[in-house]
Amino acid sequence: MAAPFANGAPNSKLVFEKSSFDDPKSSHERVLNTKYFTHNASIILPYSSSAAQLQFEISEIQDQQVTYLIRDVPVHQLVDKEFIEAFVKKGQLYILSQRRHIDTHNCAAVFPTGHLLLHITKDTYEQLGLEGKPSVFSSLKPTKYVVDIDLKPDSFTPGRKGYDRVLWCLKDRLGLTFDLLISWNPHDEKICASSVSKFFKSKGLVVSPVPWCVQTQWQNKVRTPVLDSTVVTATEDACGRAEAWEWLGAMACGIDLSESCADNYISTLSCPTPSGSCPRCCVLSVSGFFTPVTTKWLLEKVRNEVESKQEKNKVPWGSVTFHGFQDSPVSVGSREHGFFQEGDNLHSFLTFCNKDYWLYSAYGHHDLCQ
């Protein structure tokens, strides 16, 4: 009686990994390299005072990592031969459709591996005429299909049967268009990353740069949990990973924990014990469209902040969280991702001054996490 909807709550997954940046087998690089699309990074640095510096540096890298939003791109533009030769085959190209909900609309993405992925509804699929697979999250009668087109092979060229068929299917007939977020890292330093925007402008499309949105919040007199990188389950001397995870979330959401205690009527959430007092805690949030280059850079910055040996501004630990797009067709690598009631796919690094780190990866109900 008590639990008639036992299976009702979405089946989300949380993967916790503990490792060290010094470990040659550490997976942090791999994770970040294959997490192609990141929407937001939130950085939490207790005891830190130099966040202004960080903010300045962020605005500097922003100028190098320009991303563009292109409105109403006909999807056949992405299989344009000129485009493939200039951008897909050289450098690293990241494209994601924007403002389309992956559970109800058509979505598109291009990865640096040169794959064009179309997540399309049954109605579109039946008219499109390209071969695809039913989405792994669909039931016996699928309503969503995944079409995967490899743009890189040399045989994918005008005049060849396969190419002509793809072009014919995508062009003219269905009028599939997307608003696309594009970022391109050139293979050659002499080439400017903005050439991708010039290409689309020359096709008569509206291209606008996507600005980053940086927000810094200072919280004064915060209680912070005492953490030890080797203690994963809570003990008397240190908080465990679960407690730390909730605390980090509370900080990122700007929740004031100073007044709450276990018998409070409104909220019983409080800082886990044991805890220390911290005069100032910096919560910095950057939103935009980030590629692995930026996320790796941000992780590096947070590590520097934490691992710097200066006694004066000692930061025992710090955290950076990378939120993926809820409507991204993949979470990590080519692992399919969907949206059920939530589309979480986020990676959170909690770095310690001894170069250890904790990595939390949270995925929603529709994700193939093992």
Partner: protein, 288 residues
């Protein structure tokens, strides 16, 4: 997945409808059906033509604000007209095949007694069977009848807005919905609002959770506002074609978007008439 749909907006006032549409679009619905309720199938006949005139509802004019919203998000909204007829007795159902009734996109009946329910499940050519769930049902929902209706591709509708309005309605709605879903095992159920005001609308994800309280499983309850609604629309399309799998359209009447069919090199399309399949195997018509 298919787009989210609310196949029952009960209001008929233009002003209110604009409001409802704006809220619904904001919440993420792409398909919206405005309902016309017919309390009596009799009417028209002996006593004169004017009585019980059924007319198509005016399409809802979207406000500029709504249009702006759609433009920014690059979405398209489909308006659907729907007629729900109260089915008191088993006579007069011939009216359902009359042209003015058939002009509606969707047809639904609301049987009030067992005989009418049986008729609706077994013979009537309609898309949706809706029961008044705000009161105790006067009859048992029988499994063979429901199975037959499911086999014929009809869907059962649960309206949630009465449950928002009143606590007695809420109790009855939940208990009737549980009765229905246990009989049909959660198959072919759609959840619609039946709302009269925008404030009674709930978001699609809210409904995918609410379905659990109605006895659906979580995939089923998300389907109840998306996939099953698509099936209802397909059923309506097929119903209009009568019992056929292939519809024939004159090549001169082909919509501009479908002109490519004529250009394809397939010998079939060289004929003056071209085939359009509904609901059947993917992509055949696209093959060159």
């Amino acid at each position: 997945m298919a787009a989210f749909a609310d196949l029952h907006v009960a209001s008929t006032d233009q002003q209110v409808l604009q409001d409802v549409f704006q809220t619904a679009i904001k919440l993420g619905f792409d398909w919206l059906a405005v309902n016309t309720f017919l309390t009596d199938l009799k009417g028209k006949g002996k006593k004169g033509q004017q009585q019980n005139q059924i007319c198509q509802p005016e399409p809802v004019e979207l406000t500029d604000q709504t249009r702006q919203l759609l433009k920014v998000e690059g979405r398209k909204v489909r308006q659907i007209s729907r007629l729900t007829a109260l089915l008191d007795d088993t006579t007069n159902t011939h009216k359902l095949v009359s042209p003015e009734v058939q002009a509606f996109d969707l047809l639904a009946v609301q049987p009030t007694n067992e005989a009418a329910f049986k008729l609706a499940c077994c013979t009537l050519e309609v898309d949706i069977i809706v029961l008044n769930m705000t009161e105790k049902l006067s009859f048992y929902i029988k499994r063979p009848l429901v199975n037959l209706a499911i086999e014929r591709g009809m869907h059962f509708e649960i309206l949630y807005s009465p449950a928002v309005r009143d606590s007695t309605f809420r109790q009855n709605t939940i208990s009737n919905a549980l009765q229905l879903t246990s009989v049909c095992k959660g198959k072919n159920v759609i959840v619609s609002s039946g709302c009269e005001k925008a404030i009674e609308l709930r978001g699609p994800y809210d409904l995918s959770n609410l379905g659990l309280l109605f006895g659906l499983s979580s995939p089923q309850s998300k389907n109840a506002v998306s996939k099953n609604c698509r099936a209802v629309l397909k059923h309506a399309e097929a119903r209009k074609m009568m019992k056929s799998v292939v519809g024939v359209v004159k090549s001169s009447q082909l919509s501009p978007g479908d002109q490519w069919i004529l250009d394809s090199k397939r010998p079939l399309s060289a004929l003056p008439q071209t085939t359009q399949e509904i609901e059947q195997p993917p992509a055949k018509k696209g093959k060159t």
